[in-house]
Symmetry: C2
Subunit: 414 residues, 2 copies
């Protein structure tokens, strides 16, 4: 029988093997006294199994509070635990409750993070996965040979639909490939969702008619199920090709329902992610996290960016990009969305470390606030990527490409 | 214009007022350079506002890593921040993205937890809230004057529907009010959801016909939207009155969709909660968390229990129970579900500290493993609550009530 394998980074005041066994027991049959009916045959079929234990260092201070009395030492380890898929079948929420669930509550752990997740081949038969992925997003926008260049409508909230449309008009004229709503905006008092879609799509449709270039706009549909479905249909009817969902706020079941409609590319925003990942020994690591959303069918997912304005290290960002690019179940392609303080200056380092152009590269202020205007802002980011692929440094690129050179003057000291 | 007020516990290496202003800015208009269109009028209408700052201690080690370079001191404070409801209207996922969202990523914070949340009166007009709540759950089960006594089917996973039904038969004969699936089980290879519902409901319907007593069974419907809707209908058609959802695994949008059907009481399981709350300075506190689920319409929510088997302190459990019992928007009643290692021995202390009987009191092994069998187990828990309300200690209750006395012999040394 096929099994799901989960990899955890744990810290425990008790013996690692015992802690691992408790984890497995809690997530397949735990109660505080033995109960009738818990037979050996039943355990053999449904019990979780500790597959491996790799001992790491011991520390003298617990990573998070709430431990059972221990020896004064907290042992760290990487452990792998497996479950038969007979336990939950192809049900993502129950999979999550099994792999995470009550585990974070156990006193036997002073740290626990789900790092990786391996699902068996039959999952490919039951989950359609991302309908567009990298290839589909390229096809929808007609972009080849470089990353998709995107930007976010700013200010986050407050513009009217017609002000948004004016900004969109500037951006498409500038040559942008992708634009998105901020996650703070779905439908506000002065920018009703439908009005904004109509105003923006008039600009995009006109631009497409005139130039043949389809720009992707991710309208933030996050909301209740029926509302999301209605808004999805509204985007489709207006000629749009993408919707955005705040993954953590909407949740797995709601997101999958939307992805399953299959007609729009789904831009997955991971806001709230810091709560799940910022602590090194609590929560879930991105390699496991992104797999859940690929199973749900998300086409694009945020990975932060090199030299971002947030707390995350470049190493962590690179690992996240590589996790997205690794094929899953023979496909399940998802496009990494690079964002946060990006302006083109990070392109050489991003390419040097990932060797990929299969990215949606988002620059906000980096495009809008270019000293020569948004057109030069978009041009500068494209130049930065051309230079990056050619192996130029930021300094070399600045000398070769005037528009990029001007952005280095403005943003290069940050 | 009405405003939403959020209370945060923060830690920052920079000046508290500056950190608070950055938080408010990030969640209403943040980008790393000023952009055109961000006018004063627009800011006045849509900007988040710092309402108060209450300075606490400073520490020399950051609570979580990833801080900006600071002075070596990390300042803690309670701050209140407000947003106009014009920003997001009555959209729970966008509310969550606004109140939490990218905040956890900011280098200006080495700790951030959303502690409390106040929504304005008009929310009562837009959200129907829990359809059953405490009164409705009492009505469905016919229980007055004491907590509902419940238990969980164990082993968590592995029993067949007919084995489950046999156990249910024993439990209803024993006088139980409430039974639930474990969160690890929704539909497994040897317990298909529909088969289990049919087998269990045959027992419960027969019992009701014979005795007039309706026992509530929370079938775990957690899954995809269409699957949950189908299973909901199946429970209803079979005569059931409750469904269980793993709140964090399903998410806000999916949970609200199910609550909005309005015909079954919704048992909200908070597994995964430790990830969001176990760290004192990361995530979300229960008072804020439970309000989100009351807005979504959940009727029952887990609060852990006194002297539980998990990491949580009794003080924290008491705070959670009291948070559930505090009216919200003039109602929005939700029943606290007390569970984890409970057996009746905790009833006196639970009552002493909360002075309430409006609880669903769950005892797993504490009922099934009573030395004289499940009937005595249920009787013992009822006796414990009678004693608790009468002000008896565990020792006094053990002398007064034989069945409870026997459980003290078995479980009292734990």
């Amino acid at each position: 029988m096929e099994r799901i394998i989960a990899t955890y980074f744990i810290e425990t005041p008790i013996a690692i093997e015992k802690a691992a066994a408790i984890l497995a027991g809690e997530q397949s049959s735990g109660t505080f006294v033995a109960v009738p009916g818990e037979t050996e045959a039943l355990k053999a079929r449904f019990a979780a199994r500790v597959e491996s234990v790799e001992l790491l260092e011991a520390v003298t201070e617990p990573a998070i509070p709430g431990s059972a009395a221990g020896t004064g030492l907290y042992h760290r380890a990487i452990i792998k635990v497996s479950w038969s898929i007979e336990n939950f079948g192809y049900n993502l929420p129950v999979l999550v409750s099994t792999l995470q669930g009550n585990l974070y509550e156990l006193t036997q752990f002073t740290g626990l993070k789900l790092m990786e997740l391996d699902v068996p081949p039959s999952y490919a038969d039951h989950f359609p996965g991302p309908r567009f992925g990298i290839e589909g997003c390229r096809r929808l926008t007609g972009v080849t040979g470089r990353p998709l260049i995107g930007t976010i409508i700013k200010p986050s909230i407050g513009l009217t639909p017609s002000e948004t449309a004016t900004l969109v008009s500037t951006l498409v004229t500038a040559g942008i490939d992708f634009i998105k709503d901020d996650e703070l905006l779905s439908s506000s008092a002065n920018s009703l969702f439908e009005d904004r879609v109509n105003a923006v799509m008039r600009v995009l449709n006109h631009h497409a008619d005139r130039t043949g270039k389809e720009v992707m706009y991710a309208f933030n549909i996050s909301g209740e199920i029926d509302e999301m479905m209605y808004r999805y249909e509204h985007i489709l009817a207006a000629g749009g090709n993408c919707a955005m969902i705040s993954l953590n706020s909407v949740g797995l079941s709601g997101t999958k329902k939307i992805c399953d409609q299959g007609e729009l590319a789904i831009h997955g925003h991971r806001n709230g992610w810091g709560m799940l990942n910022r602590h090194p020994l609590l929560g879930i690591g991105f390699p496991a996290y992104q797999k859940l959303w690929r199973l749900a069918g998300v086409d694009q997912i945020h990975v932060n960016g090199i030299q971002n304005k947030f707390w995350e290290s470049d190493d962590s960002v690179v690992r996240s990009i590589m996790a997205c690019l690794e094929p899953m179940l023979g496909g399940f392609s998802i496009m990494p969305v690079v964002s946060s303080g990006q302006w083109g200056g990070q392109a050489p380092e991003t390419y040097r470390r990932t060797k990929t152009i299969d990215l949606l590269y988002m620059a906000g202020g980096g495009i809008m606030a270019h000293p020569d205007g948004p057109s030069s802002g978009v041009e500068a980011v494209r130049q930065a990527w051309k230079a990056a692929v050619d192996g130029l440094s930021v300094e070399e690129a600045a000398k070769t490409y005037p528009a990029f050179g001007r952005s280095v003057e403005k943003f290069g000291t940050k």
